[in-house]
Amino acid sequence: MKTYKQPNTVGRFGEFGGMYVSETLMPLLLNLDKSYKKIQKDKKFKKELNDLFKNYVGRPSSLHYAKNLSKYINGPKVYFKRDELNHTGAHKINNCLGQILLAKKMGKTRIIAETGAGQHGVATATVCALFGLPCYIYMGSKDIERQKPNVFRMKLLGATIIPVESGSKSLKDAMNEALRDWIKNVRDTFYIIGSTAGPHPYPKMVRDFQSVIGKEAREQILKVEKKLPDYLIACVGGGSNAMGLFYPFLNDKKVKIIGVEAAGRGAKTEETAATMTSGTPGILHGSYSYVLQDNDGQIKEAHSISAGLDYPGVGPEHSHLKDIKRVKYFGVTDKEALEAFQTCSKLEGIIPALEPSHALAYLIKAFKNKHKNKVVILNMCGRGDKDLFTAAKAIGFDADE
C-alpha cells in the first residue's frame, strides 16, 4: 500500500484542511508554518521536549491491561493507554509543551488559548506557569459553569480567564474569540490551539506533538503482546487524542481504527456533537472539514454532556480518514457515555473523563461477547475528576459540599 503522507505542503489532508483565514492572520500562519518546519529539524528542541515529557509530564504513560473490563465485555483483551496519568490529568499537556517551546523560539511573549472542558486551558496555564509567560484563556460561560474545578485550577496557575458570552457559549465561541484576540495582538501573541482543528499548520502540528501517544503505545503493545493491536479506539471532539494514538498506526493496514463521537441526545436529533455522523463538509475556524451546519452554511450549536467533545467541527485529518475509509466513526449518546463512566469506575478503579467514556461506551456496546482473542487499545485520554459534578448531577447524586 501507499505510505500515508498527509498533509501536503499547504495543509491539505486530501481535500480537507487548508488555511481559510483573513489576510490579518495569513502572514502569521505562514510564519508559524515556517518556524514549525525549522524546529522539526532542531535536535535541541527535540531533546528539550523529550526531557519535559519524561520529567515534567511523567511519560511514557503506562499501557494497562484492563482485566476486569475485558472479562465483563467477554470479548477482546482491552488495554488502556493511560494518558490520564499525565501531569494535569489529560493528553493536552503533550501538545502544549511542544507549542510553548515553539512560541519561545519565535520570541512571543504572550500566550492565548481556547478551552472547552478546561483540560487544554489547564495544560496551557501549566506550561505558561512553567515558562513564566502571561496566559489568557478564552472559555465559554456555559463551560465555566460546568467545569468549575478546572476554572479554579487555571486561576491558581496564574492564568486570566476570559468568559465568552457569544453564540452557544462553549468551545466554538471560545475559539472565535481567541482568533479575534490573535488578530488584534498578532505581533507579540502565540495562540496555542488545543486540538487538531483550525487552519494549517495547527492540525498537523498538534497531531505531531500528540503522536507520542501512539508511538509509545506501539512499542508497549509489541513488548507485551508481541504483535500489533487489532483495534484502536479513541473519542473524537476536535480529534487530538485520537490523532495522537492513530497516526503512528495509519500504515499498519491490519490495525482497525475506530473514532467515537459524542452524539449527545442522539445523532439524528438536533442536540448532537457527532460531526462526521450528522454533518457535511464546510468551513469553520479556518479549515475545510465536516461541520454541523444548516442549508445556508450557518454553523449549528453542538450538544454533548462532555464539554471536551461539544464542538460542531472536527479536525480535517479525521474527515480525510473517514472519506478514505481508513478510520470508522460512530456516535455515542450522553446516556451511554454516563453508563460507561460508571462501569469503568467500578470495574477498573479508574474514573475516566466523560470524553473517553464515549470511547468506552462504544467498546462495551460493540465488542460485547465478540472479537475474542483480539487486542484493543483504548486511549484513556483524561481522568474524570473534572467531571464529578456534571456526572453527579446527571446521575442524580447530590454532590454539593
Binding site: V10, G18, M19, Y20, V21, S22, E23, T24, L25, M26, P27, L28, S166, G167, K172, N176, L179, R180, I183, K184, V186, R187, G282, I283, L284, H285, G286, Q293, N295, D296, G297, Q298, I299
Partner: protein, 258 residues
Amino acid sequence: MNNLDTLPKKKILSLFMTCGFPTLSQSKRIFNEMLSHQPDVIEFGLPFSDPMADGPIIQEANKLALNSNLSTQQSLNLIKELSKSKNNTSFVIMCYLNTVRKFGVDKFIKSIKNIVDGIIIVDLPFEEESEIKKALSKNNIHLIKLISPMTDKKRAQKLLKGSKGFIYYISATGITGSNKLDYKEINKNVKSLKKMSKIPVLVGFGIKSKKDVLEISKKTNADGVIIGSALIQKYFDLKMDINKYLMALKKLIKEVKV
C-alpha cells in the same frame, strides 16, 4: 459595465452594512437611506454565524439578522431589488466562504451577475482563490483584496497582481471596529501599496467619525475610507429604535461625506 472601474480619484466613501439587520424589512429601509446619499460604494455584509474576522458589533448585527431566519437567498434578493436604484454606486458583497460554497459557487455568481460589482470573501486567502477568481472575472465581478499591516511587501505584490476594483487596507492590526488608528503606519503602507497598483486604496477598520475621515484624508495618501461598525453601533446606542436610528444614520453619513 462595472461601477468600480469608474470610482472617483479621491475621497472615496464606502459604507458597510449587514444584510437583513435588524430584520429584513427594516434592513430595506436602512439600505434605502444609505443609497439616497449615493455613496461611491455600498458593502453588503452577508450574515454568518461565526464571523471570526469581525468585531463584536458586526457579530451582533449578524446574530440579529440570523435570528430572524434570514437566508442567503433573501439577502441576494434584497441586493437585487436595491440595485434598481444604484446609479453610480458600486455594489460590493462582503461575506465568508462557507456562505458562498454552501449556496453553490456557480449559482451564487449567477445570482449576483450584473448586480454586484465586487466581492470580498474575508476568509478566502490568496492561496485558495484561483478557481473562484476565474469564475468571478468571467462574469465581470472584481475580487477585492484585503491587505493588512502584517502583509509584507513581497506578499502584497503577489496578492495585488492584476487586481481590480480597489484595495481594502486594514488600518488597525485588528478586527473590524477596533479603535487604534496609527496614521503614520497607514500612510507608509498605503504609499507602498500605491506604488504596486494603480487601483484606489481604501482604508477600513476602526473609522468612526468625520474627524477620522478628515485625518485619513489629511495625514495619509489613501484614496478613501470604509465605514462599517460605526454605522451599526448607532443602532445599539439608540436602544434599537429604528426610526431614531434612520435619522442618526442620515446625519452620520452626511457628516462623513466630506
